[in-house]
Amino acid sequence: MKRLLKGGRVVDPVNGRDGAFDVLIDGDRISRIARNIPADGAHVIDVPAGFVVCPGFIDMHVHLREPGQEHKETVATGVASAVAGGFTAVACMPNTSPINDNAGVTEFILKKAAEARRARVYPIGAVSKGSNGEQLADIGELRAAGCVAISDDGRPVRTALLMRRALEYAAMFGMPVLDHCEDPSLKGEGVAHEGYQASSLGLRGIPGVAESIMVQRDIALAEMTGAPVHICHMSAAESLRAVREGKRHAAKVTCEVAPHHFTLTDEALAAPVSYDTNVKMNPPLRGTADREAMVEGLVDGSIDAIATDHAPHHYDEKKVEFDQAPFGIVGLETCVSIALDRLVHPGLLGLPRLVELLSVNPARILSIPGGALTEGAVADLTVLAPDLQTVVDASKFRSKSRNTPFDGWHLRGSVAATIVGGHTVYVNELAEGAARFE
């Protein structure tokens, strides 16, 4: 079956497109992009004015919790959440139970993803067996089973030597190592950004340097080995400085930032609700200078990707003392609205740059399909309603969990529809005209 998207604004930086184009989808592929394509028997969808058609967004850092923690999220609910947030693909971290350190777990995740038939799922394998920082996991086997990268996320790659070996070994398969950068001794028992807010609330601090010191280690090793390293959920200004320096020296370093780190600061610890466990994440919300640095990095190109670090937790687990609560918040269903409201509408960056951050670069870093609306490529598309006034309502999330600090936020811009492999997998009922994509 052919479908013709007519008259929308197409933003496709890889192919240099930003303007009114028609997109012809044939089966699961994009068959043509041009101005004024004749219908020629195709089902015509008149794209509502103001909507924007983009290559499908890819969230390269999510936790789907299955196997092992299905009370928080399953692959099925996770990918339902993903498409509702405009993501046509996600890369899921290996810190499940058991850890995704062998082909059996990878195959299980992919089987669940195939059954769910929503977003594409790209598993990330563990760097070390059990992610315990000692023996390398069976990386070749993980690769063959479908893993696209390796990471011990949730914890850092423990030693410089293990990191070196992981970089060298994974580069053989063209896989990057994604590192959760954090010096365990500097983090200690910290639960919030080290600074005035944590101090006055009596919370143990985690300094920004706990992150940047390991970013610097990783970049040094990437330079030495010539292998690609990717810095996960960067939060500190010092880390960004190290990444910029590394890029200047042509180290193969890329990095991502999460929406909460370019939106919120540690002041959220005290207000509007003090000790709200939904502002507890790792790395923590940092100071104003750090937040501003993250925005600057997104604008000037030194940050490569926006990734949510979607970390669902059951409400019971968060309804405890602040220092007892698990780290992390859900992010899939708020990311695009936050990015549009906080980055695009204030004029900090244009839609083409946003598409780079959410689609082009994640596809490039992970060497996975997508990131461009190229003829013959899979028809993964995210359709935006950039001006739609949106109120975040956590009770309506597709995710199993609701741990978000953004509940009730008024944001301008949202997703209108999500198309994966030519099939519409999500339509935003609140976006007028989006039903045409059904």
């Binding site: 005035y196 944590a198 006055s200 009596g202 000790y275 405890v320 003392e321 602040f322 220092d323």
Partner: protein, 327 residues
């Protein structure tokens, strides 16, 4: 030990009620509310001098003391205060509660709440534990110390003690010396003393200095001598080894030699300086025995005043004057 002061401090507050359900921290109080508590404590203290140390003010009210951390002074002080006001009291300690069986704090509190207590006095090792309960309980929550955050009744009794000796707090130089980082007493005292206009100096090893403490309007220094110079009040804080993760200073011996309060260091203070310590003291660590037991020490008065101050807090949170009118 100094003798009882017979002329009470004149009332200084201009408000007559405390419009809060809970006492979570000094941060939530206005200067006038602080003065009201201190003035009320002044009246409450007299009850402790009577042959029959009991008034019917909180008759029929149930107060639960939940102490999830060890405490002698604070728990006893609250319990005496509650009994003097005729409240029905019960004590729950972590070791004997369902928490030891894995129940969450919220579940423990909700089950207690179902039995309709009027107030819960909570001590807990986690900062913000009282805020969590305050959001879900109808009962008033009184913070008896939460982690490294606040210990508001300690700061109130400290202020009461200072006021008794110095008549007012505004303009005094107060030096607070010790393990600042891990101290909830510090945080409450900084809030209270700066709100009432004292000049607060804090001193201790740089490794135990809370980040950004100067934003609270205090002077920070690693020189104990500078902190003590011309001080009206010197308050020592306990070195909390049990809260320390890793090494913060080389040895207790070196700590004492650099930061311990000795008679010699104390000579820099005003001649009528008072020495305070919230207890429990580590003699020979943050304070020399000669200072703790010396003529400037008001440490035992602090303990005595704790009862009156906690009576005032219980009374005011239960409704104060309005409560009596309704009864």
């Amino acid at each position: 030990m100094t003798t009882r002061i017979e002329t009470p401090v004149q009332p200084q507050s201009t408000v007559s009620t405390l419009r809060h359900k809970d006492l979570l921290g000094i941060a939530d109080l206005t200067p006038d509310e602080i003065r009201l508590i201190l003035d009320t404590a002044e009246a409450m203290r007299e009850i402790g001098y009577r042959p029959i140390k009991k008034v019917p003010t909180l008759r029929g009210k149930t107060v639960v003391n939940m102490f999830f951390e060890n405490s002698t002074r604070t728990r006893t002080s609250f319990e005496i205060a509650e009994k003097r006001l005729s409240a029905d009291t019960l004590n729950i300690a972590a070791a004997t509660s369902s928490v030891a069986k894995g129940e969450t704090l919220v579940d423990t509190a909700m089950n207690l709440e179902a039995m309709a207590p009027d107030m819960i006095v909570l001590r807990h090792a986690s900062s913000g534990a009282c805020h969590l309960l305050a959001r879900i309980c109808r009962a008033g929550i009184i913070n008896a110390g939460d982690g490294m955050h606040e210990h508001p009744t300690q700061a109130l009794l400290d202020a009461f003690t200072i006021r008794e000796h110095k008549k007012q707090i505004a303009g005094l130089k107060v030096a607070i010396i010790g393990d600042l980082l891990h101290s909830r007493v510090l945080r409450s005292n900084v809030q209270l003393l700066t709100k009432l206009g004292a000049e607060v100096w804090v001193s201790g090893p740089p490794t135990l200095m809370p980040p950004g403490i100067e934003r609270d309007g205090v002077h920070r220094t690693t020189s104990v001598e500078d902190a003590v110079e011309g001080a009206d009040v010197v308050m020592l804080l306990r070195v909390q080894l049990e809260r320390m993760q890793g090494t913060f200073f080389p040895s207790l011996r070196e700590y004492f030699s650099l930061f311990g309060m000795t008679c010699e260091r104390l000579r820099r203070a005003k001649p009528d300086v008072i020495i305070m310590h919230p207890g429990p003291m580590n003699r020979g660590v943050e304070i020399a025995s000669e200072v703790a037991d010396g003529p400037y020490s008001v440490i035992l008065e602090q303990a005595a005043n704790g009862v009156a101050v906690r009576m005032a807090v219980l009374y005011l949170l239960a409704g104060g004057v309005e409560h009596e009118a309704a009864a």
